[in-house]
């Protein structure tokens, strides 16, 4: 196939991948902070999209207000979820955490279905979505927004972790919770903040996906791709998660185009199993020893 088409595929793969990366970042942060893998992260993506839907369609807010308000509301929602459902099982075995977060996801989906049923809603965006032509390469401008948003958010996140007191506190807790506690860092506050950030990322991903594919209760399915992305990145590395997301996006776009749309979904799992078996600590990670 032509170079132009390949460029087009690469671009849309990277764009979709950057949304996976956003969701994956939201998975990695609570895992680093407290060892929690959140199987309800997909539902948080969905809830974020519905919050945006409510603000823009229900309250007729302009789009430039919808985005920040959605992120703020989602952050608050994340804190509430963490306090109410995650805190009580935090020290429990992994099985309990997996099942508890799945249960939270079930309840969230049920709640959304009660209000909006199973309909597919579009999320209107206030700019032209006509296809742009860059020479022979055709690009959906929404994808540009996806890339832009993802890059801005990741940059902000990186700056936050590097330069702010709160960001440094979060890194300290991820490194050594006991030590951080002794240093006077309020670990419980850090857990909440982690969830706030994760949910805000998820909500952003939800808005982007909603604008591109529409909003519906099953859109949390994106979680599976984000899991693959996080695993490829070693699950504890933020840059790894970004790399993983892009890799998954590109891999599935190309396999979808060249092999067939069924293979598009299978390739993510092949990637998952391959990475787990060959490099169980991710492409960037290093193995940890367990003490007996």
């Amino acid at each position: 196939m032509s170079l132009a088409l390949n460029a087009q595929l690469l671009f849309s793969g990277v764009s979709v991948g950057s949304v996976y990366a956003l969701v994956a970042l939201g998975l990695v942060m609570p895992f680093k902070a407290a060892g929690i893998v959140n199987f309800a992260q997909g539902e948080l993506v969905m809830v974020g999209a519905y919050i945006a839907l409510f603000l823009s369609v229900g309250l007729h807010l302009p789009f430039h207000l919808v985005v920040p308000i959605t992120m703020a509301l989602a952050a608050g929602f994340g804190i509430a979820i963490e306090r109410a459902f995650i805190r009580p099982v935090m020290r429990a075995p992994e099985f309990t955490i997996v099942v508890a977060t799945l249960a939270v996801g079930l309840m969230l989906k049920n709640g959304v279905r009660l209000i909006w049923q199973d309909n597919l809603y579009p999320l209107a965006v206030p700019f032209s979505t006509d296809v742009l032509a860059l020479g022979p390469v055709r690009i959906n401008p929404l994808l540009l927004y996806m890339d832009g948003t993802a890059i801005v958010l990741m940059a902000l996140l990186a700056l936050f972790f590097r330069f702010t007191r709160q960001g440094k506190a979060m890194r300290a807790v991820a490194q050594n919770p006991e030590g951080a506690r002794l240093m006077g860092i309020r670990v419980s506050w850090v857990f909440s903040a982690t969830w706030a950030l994760s949910t805000a990322m998820a909500a952003t991903a939800g808005m982007l996906l909603g604008a591109l594919f529409g909003i519906h209760p099953e859109m949390g399915h994106v979680l599976i791709k984000a899991f693959v992305a996080a695993v490829v990145g070693g699950f504890v590395s933020l840059p790894g998660a970004v790399l993983g997301g892009v890799l998954v996006g590109v891999a599935e776009t190309f396999s979808g185009a060249y092999v067939g749309s069924t293979f598009k979904d299978v390739v993510a799992f092949l990637l998952l199993i391959g990475v787990l078996l060959l490099r169980p600590h991710g492409l960037l990670g290093t193995p940890l020893a367990r003490r007996v």
Partner: protein
């Protein structure tokens, strides 16, 4: 319990199980069959998750594999049902071993992720092989006939399903208290100690995956026979979560727990029909409540009660007797 008491209770149970369904309507008989099927499925998952401590979010895939394999072998290959059913179980068991090969190297979250991957791939396969499986449209599963007799009614199906269920429960209970069952519990508690005692952890986990998948497969074969129709929606992630609800509510690691959980949760939608819209709230809430407040489930609570009762009886006896 004294032996005569035991015999009495057991025979009362048998009479109830054998004669009871005659007093029920056809819908209740159908439900009862479904309860039995779910008991088999839950028992398998409980051996894997409750005893061997391995998370699985793809138990429903093995149910699917068993259901499709049994139905195809029975309806298309024309194997007699009593052969197609265990064969379907074996196909599922083989797939369980196949999943086990990568899974035994992983634990916890990673294992959960790989099992989700397996579930998705199974779903895709069922969709893609539509010429055999009917894809999204599903597939009719003919009623089985055993010894030349068509088991047309739910009541006639009940007895063979009951027999299979009791047999598989008996085997599960025996395994629980065998070296293999103890090895399951050992690796869940401490892999380090288990291997220091010579337990080959990888092989034991593989056995757990295979056995669990066999139970799920047989359950799936019977499910197809009971319901008469199978489609991939019935075997998605939600179904797997439901299987987990069975064992969490009933009691992890306990055969009694599998029975109680499957019976209660299968019956639940009937009792909650007025709240159908809120069903996932109920399921999610139940899961969270049990995980936080009753992590050993109903069976665990019953065991604690019994233990407490024995202890207080022992105390009364000690007070009653002259001190040494």
């Amino acid at each position: 319990m004294s032996p005569p008491q035991r015999v009495l209770i057991l025979s009362a149970c048998m009479v109830l199980l054998l004669a009871g369904p005659w007093l029920l309507g056809t819908y209740q008989q159908y439900l009862l069959n479904l309860v039995l099927v779910n008991i088999i499925i839950a028992t398998g998952l409980n051996l894997l998750t409750g005893n061997a401590g391995q998370i699985s979010l793809c138990h429903s895939s093995f149910v699917a594999i068993g259901a499709y394999a049994t139905t195809l072998l029975y309806a298309n290959v024309r194997l007699p049902f009593w052969l197609a059913l265990p064969a379907g179980g074996l196909v599922a068991a083989a797939c369980g071993a196949l999943l086990g090969l990568p899974a035994i190297r992983l634990a916890g979250f990673y294992l959960a992720l790989v099992t989700i991957g397996f579930l998705e791939v199974t779903q895709i396969l069922v969709h893609e092989l539509a010429s055999v499986t009917g894809g999204v449209r599903g597939m009719l599963a003919p009623r089985p006939s055993v010894a030349g007799r068509l088991l047309a009614t739910d009541l006639s199906l009940y007895y063979p399903v009951l027999a299979v269920t009791l047999g598989m429960l008996y085997a599960a209970r025996n395994l629980r208290y065998s070296p293999l069952g103890r090895a399951f519990d050992a690796i869940r508690n401490s892999e380090a100690a288990a291997q220091a005692l010579g337990i080959p952890i990888a092989r034991i986990k593989l056995a757990a995956f295979t056995i669990a998948a066999f139970y799920a497969g047989v359950g799936g074969g019977l499910y197809a026979a009971v319901v008469g129709f199978i489609d991939p929606v019935e075997f998605g992630l939600w179904a797997s979560v439901r299987h987990i609800i069975f064992i969490v509510v009933g009691g992890l690691g306990s055969v009694t727990g599998s029975v109680l959980g499957a019976a209660i949760i299968t019956g639940l939608p009937e009792w909650l029909r007025r709240f159908q819209e809120y069903s996932d709230f109920v399921y999610g809430g139940l899961l969270l409540a049990f995980l936080v407040f009753m992590p050993r489930g109903i069976a665990g609570a019953l065991a604690d009660l019994r233990r407490g009762w024995h202890r207080s009886r022992a105390r009364v006896a000690a007070i009653g007797s002259p001190s040494q």
